[in-house]
């Protein structure tokens, strides 16, 4: 076969599969959106669900998902950044480092139902945090942390070594080099990692049923004191997220419009994830540009 022909065939195949993947994605998204979009209204997005009557919304669940994301990231990002930077810049290669890396890897492949049950035993019962947002956030940290650590480590390792040398030669301390020279360069990758782990927060159900719980107290959206029991911001209250809610109504929903609600909630979930992605990327780019004075990302 002539190289040119081979090249053509290979290109055709690659393009074909790329298009196939895009088509599947669009089909899936389209299916979810078409089924759910007409059910979405301002009322649906803001009102509380109904147990047996029709017309319930997903307001608290949507809020819970977003708030749980914030809480989880508040724990995951500092820990993940710290550990990733330690692994990339400070840990000496050796047995201990390899052991830590092994643990991180094992952690990331834990099935989420196990993490959920483990969270139930340890966080909810033993540490008596109960079914709460904070329990859910800690459980989610268990599988988001490995991703965050690995991506941070990778991001720092791919910064050219010459950057570090230039910093040392100027008499900068290692910490200053890490935070002011390397971190800005590593930032786009770290943001991608954060987005990936955020996606898991939105989508996770199994690990949350046993930690964040499957119910929400009657939330008072005019009380923003995190210490009040009915305040939406109280991290110690149970919180059913959107994904858990979808699972619940699909399996045991009693409302006559349960199917439509599930479809609507799914569409809301997908749109939220998309929006979060776009926003995170946009702000990440903004910060990167500000820090590196560049016009484009990379």
């Amino acid at each position: 076969m002539k190289p040119k022909t081979a090249d053509k065939i290979a290109t055709t195949f690659i393009v074909f599969f790329a298009l196939l993947i895009v088509a599947i994605l669009i089909g899936l998204l389209g299916y979810i959106l078409v089924r759910g979009l007409n059910h979405i209204s301002w009322d649906f997005l803001t009102s509380a669900p109904q147990k047996i009557r029709a017309g319930g919304g997903v307001g608290p669940q949507l809020f819970n998902s977003l708030y749980l994301l914030v809480l989880t990231l508040l724990i995951t990002v500092p820990l993940g950044l710290g550990a990733g930077i330690f692994m990339a810049e400070y840990a000496r290669p050796g047995k201990l480092t390899n052991f830590i890396r092994l643990i991180v890897e094992v952690l990331s492949s834990f099935p989420s139902i196990i993490v959920g049950l483990f969270g139930l035993l340890l966080i909810v019962n033993y540490f008596e945090l109960g079914f709460s947002l904070i329990s859910g956030a800690i459980a989610l940290t268990f599988f988001n942390l490995p991703l965050m650590v690995r991506i941070t480590e990778q991001a720092f390792r791919t910064v050219p070594k010459a950057q570090k040398e230039a910093g040392f030669a100027l008499g900068l301390s290692k910490w200053k080099i890490v935070t002011s020279v390397l971190l800005p360069v590593a930032l786009p990758t770290i943001i991608t990692g954060t987005i990936l782990s955020a996606g898991r927060v939105f989508g996770e159900a199994a690990a949350l049923m046993f930690t964040a719980g499957m119910s929400s107290p009657r939330l008072n959206f005019s009380d923003w004191n995190p210490l009040h029991a009915n305040s939406p911001l109280n991290p110690f209250r149970p919180a059913e997220t959107l994904a858990v809610h979808i699972w619940k109504i699909n399996s045991e929903g009693l409302a006559p419009d349960a199917i439509q609600i599930a479809a609507g909630a799914s569409a809301v979930l997908v749109i939220t994830v998309l929006l979060f992605n776009l926003l995170a990327r946009y702000f990440g780019r903004l910060i990167y540009r500000k820090l590196t004075a560049s016009k484009r990302i990379n």
């Binding site: 040398e165 100027l170 008499g171 900068l172």
Partner: protein, 257 residues
């Protein structure tokens, strides 16, 4: 061999050996670096020039498994001794590499970053340092209208001069250059060489180069390294016109190395 100067220079090495593990990459080298001179380090690839140069501001500290023996004297202090404040030391000694490595920051921030870290405050003072450093590196006129642009948008030659300006920003007394022009086109190379000649009026310069014409053009003293040892050290004219060692002669004539 005429190695260690009779009078101790205010900057010189004494019996400096550098190891990677057990491999001795630099073998007991004593070299003086006089004020207002350019010293060229030449020799075949792998002979230890970069290793030697890096050790002069303790950059080898950051390579795991590397150890250094001997002394590096600066103003009567052995900076190779334990307890040296490496951060202070590195302010006194600037370094520039073969490949330009500007920070992923604006042109302005590339220069202002070091001084700011070392305690210079106030926009006026920093502006002044940025301008004077860029002028000393003969880059000011080309970039003065785009100081806020990314340094990575500059050409290779401009980036290299920016790196020189960055090294100058903390007012070093010594400048170490590791093949600073080998990745540049002839015009940029000319500019960098011109710059080196001007800068030596203010400080001392040690330069590694593979370009014999360049060594002859810009240096006052030349040291020829071979397999980690110092084979010959003398005034550049002497080394290039009438070297004492046969090996040096052959290397310079391009017959080996």
């Amino acid at each position: 061999m005429g190695t260690a100067a009779a009078v101790r220079e205010s900057f010189q090495t004494e019996n400096l050996s550098i190891f990677y593990g057990t491999y001795e990459a630099v073998k007991g080298i004593s070299l003086p670096f006089a004020q207002n001179t350019v010293t060229a380090l030449i020799g075949p690839s792998g002979c230890g020039k970069s290793t030697f140069l890096r050790s002069l501001n303790r950059m080898n500290d950051d390579i795991s498994g590397s150890t250094t023996k001997g002394s590096i004297w600066i103003d009567g202090v052995d900076i190779n001794a334990q307890g040296t404040d490496v951060i202070k030391l590195r302010q006194k000694i600037g370094m520039v590499w073969q490949k330009p490595n500007p920070f992923y920051k604006s042109i302005y921030d590339n220069i202002a970053f070091g001084p700011k870290y070392h305690g210079i405050k106030g926009k006026a003072a920093l502006d002044e340092i940025v301008e004077s450093s860029l002028r000393r590196a003969a880059l000011w006129d080309e970039v003065k209208d785009r100081l806020k642009d990314s340094a990575l948008a500059l050409s290779g030659g401009q980036q290299q001069r920016l790196c020189i300006a960055r090294a100058l920003s903390v007012n070093p007394q010594i400048l170490l250059l590791d093949e600073p022009a080998s990745a540049l086109d002839p015009v940029s190379t000319g500019k960098v060489e011109e710059l080196i000649k001007e800068l030596k009026e203010e400080l001392r310069i040690v330069i590694v180069t593979h370009n014999m014409q360049q060594a002859a053009r810009i240096s006052d003293y030349t040291a020829y390294f071979y397999l980690g040892s110092l084979v010959e050290y003398d005034k550049t004219e002497k080394v290039f016109s009438n070297p004492e060692n046969q090996m040096t002669q052959e290397y310079i004539m391009g017959r080996f190395g």
